[in-house]
Assembly symmetry: C2
Homo-oligomer: 377 residues x 2
């Protein structure tokens, strides 16, 4: 018996009912039937993001929607501030470089969230900053930034705030309208419980004013074309239709659970895992930990590759390796999407078992008991 149990922070497990929805006979996208589905999907995404702003749907990975956000908001004579403390923050700096967009890098220590005071100071010191790019949950380090506080600062300036919420949307609280976020981007294969292939952006009126006045070096990711199309409940280029159909189903599931309940489920699972690792004497990597995913240091003497291989071979539990400079030192476990208490406690039991067998010393059950305490609170 070989069950695959994805505990990677994307792709995440896809509910069976979503898979079967996507296996329904193929239909065309220029039909009222499809328009109805896309319309529901847009409403569902607005609910997830707690917003009345436009939602755009791209057929691409999350990187594509972020590229579009950065390129479309880059105004002549202005620069973009990139806050980076991990692999994905670095990626947005690379996008600026590829498109010759003047930009400043604000480095954050890996494992920490962005420093709100430093962002405020940067905006004060340099009025040519036209856009601020922050990663909400930096998937590579499992660290979170305080988007609510950052939005409060940025919204008082002419600059727009672009949030990479690829591994936080529908997992950690994001209130676009209440907090005043200008652009939020995410992908389908994280907390939205879908396979990869779709990306989404939520765009404020403040951002549209800048985008509409621009002539961006963009075609496929030109936000203006998507805005025009969305007014007729359409996309400018053929969408990944089966994924949109599946999304309609997964958004129904999120609505039935209630977005606040989703957020607290993810938060509780993350808290349980953090307690479990501490009780096992395992250190967490992030000092400002996100709830979507937890990164932990592999205990000394344990081979990281062998540990993950055994977890997958023996229990089907697929954990993620570290990325960039923490590769081989850190392992990550996912809490977002179609994952619940039973899944997580099972995975923790497997982690305990494998570590014990590999010679790491701790009281068997210590991690599970600590997790259980959090879950029963």
């Amino acid at each position: 018996m070989a069950k695959i149990r994805l505990f990677t922070p994307g792709p995440t497990p896809v509910p069976e009912q979503v898979m079967l929805e996507m296996a329904q006979p193929m239909d065309h996208h220029r039909t009222s039937q499809y328009q109805e589905i896309l319309g529901k999907v847009l409403e569902g995404l607005k609910y997830v993001f707690q917003t009345k702003n436009d939602v755009l749907v791209f057929t691409s990975s999350g990187t594509g929607s972020m590229e579009g956000a950065i390129v479309c908001t880059a105004q002549p004579g202005k620069k973009t501030l990139i806050v980076q403390g991990g692999k994905f923050g670095e990626r947005w700096g690379e996008v600026c470089a590829a498109f010759d967009i003047p930009h400043t890098i604000m480095n954050v220590e890996w494992g920490k969230g962005a420093d709100v005071g430093l962002i405020e100071k940067a905006l004060k010191d340099d009025p040519t900053i036209g856009a601020v790019v922050v990663v909400h949950c930096e998937t590579s380090t499992a660290a979170a930034s305080n988007i609510e506080a950052i939005a409060k600062v940025v919204s008082q300036t002419p600059a727009v705030l672009i949030v990479d919420a690829i591994s936080s949307a529908a997992a950690m609280p994001i209130k676009v309208d209440e907090w005043g976020i200008d652009i939020v981007c995410t992908g389908s294969q994280k907390a939205l419980m879908l396979p990869p292939g779709l990306a989404f952006s939520v765009v404020s009126e403040k951002a549209w004013k800048i985008i509409e006045a621009n002539k961006p070096k963009a075609y496929y990711f030109d936000y203006r074309a998507y805005r025009k199309a969305i007014k007729g409940v359409d996309t400018p280029y053929t969408s990944a239709l089966t994924l949109v159909k599946g999304l309609n189903k997964s958004l129904e599931m999120i609505r039935a659970e209630g977005i606040e309940n989703v957020w607290s489920r993810v938060s509780k699972l993350a808290g349980a895992c953090r307690s479990a690792f501490e009780a096992m004497g395992i250190k967490l990597y992030a000092t400002d930990p996100a709830d979507s995913v937890t990164a932990f240091w592999v205990p000394e003497g344990i081979d990281e590759v062998a540990f993950r291989k055994t977890m997958r071979a023996r229990y089907g539990v697929h954990l993620a390796a570290g990325q960039g400079k923490i590769k081989g030192k850190v392992v990550r476990i996912n809490h977002m999407g179609y994952v619940d208490m039973v899944d997580t406690m099972g995975a923790l039991a497997a982690i305990e078992t494998v570590l014990l067998q590999m010679g790491y010393k701790f009281t068997p059950g210590a991690g599970l008991a600590a997790a259980q305490k959090v879950l029963c609170q």
Copy 2:
């Protein structure tokens, strides 16, 4: 009973076995299991394109892979020649405009293929032409260009030939290596029998020399990143995994049928439909007709919208409307992908029935008999 029968030139019907393959439990993309699938898919695509060149896989619509081809091959001091005779040719001119790429438009009468002599002359007259963009099957007009002849001309110059084969790959003969095509792009939702969401490019060494020496305004569609990744049988950004899995299945089906047999099946279905329409006194739109799709003039006195609506409502047969300036005047029927003789004859019977009921005069069965003659040859 409501069966959907897609006769639109993309999306096309997806085989049940491909749908079910995609509904299998979600796995991660950084596994040897997935690498094996991606490796097979790359080999399968090389077979479809009859090439040993690199194949790149993008999560996007076909438009994305074409944008990448145009942007990555645009060399400083050179210009791009866009041959356009329909909506998609026009799109590639728009891409040049969006990225400020110097370009020349060569207009082709709608319904005709590109004029090989004019392309040869243009290249002779203007040695600054660094790339030539031609649409193989212009989906909007159902006209085909002679890519073999164009490749013969372009390959004798320093310019690269970029072919939009979005609605011709795996439907009409394309022999990349034998003909010497530099870049060919296609999408998943046409003759490859998949839902939309993936795009592919085949890139020659001649094109790579230009691309590697460039610093394109591109990130998500930067061909260089995909080449680097493909060497390790990987993609730079998370792929639409379920579609890649489905593609593995549909490529197996193409291989089992044999690519030459696929081409002749499509050609035969197209020939049968062209004969049927002629026998019914219905004029074809394209004077250089493609085999992937046939466009026909709606007979005088017949309401185009009502005709297509009735076809769908009564028989589930979904035909495509005309695009751009021929919208409302022309209807298109698809021949590529998971469509065979039985499907096509059934659809023709439905077309006859609906036209007769709408008052168009012709001998019932005339179209079907003419089609049958072609099919029995």
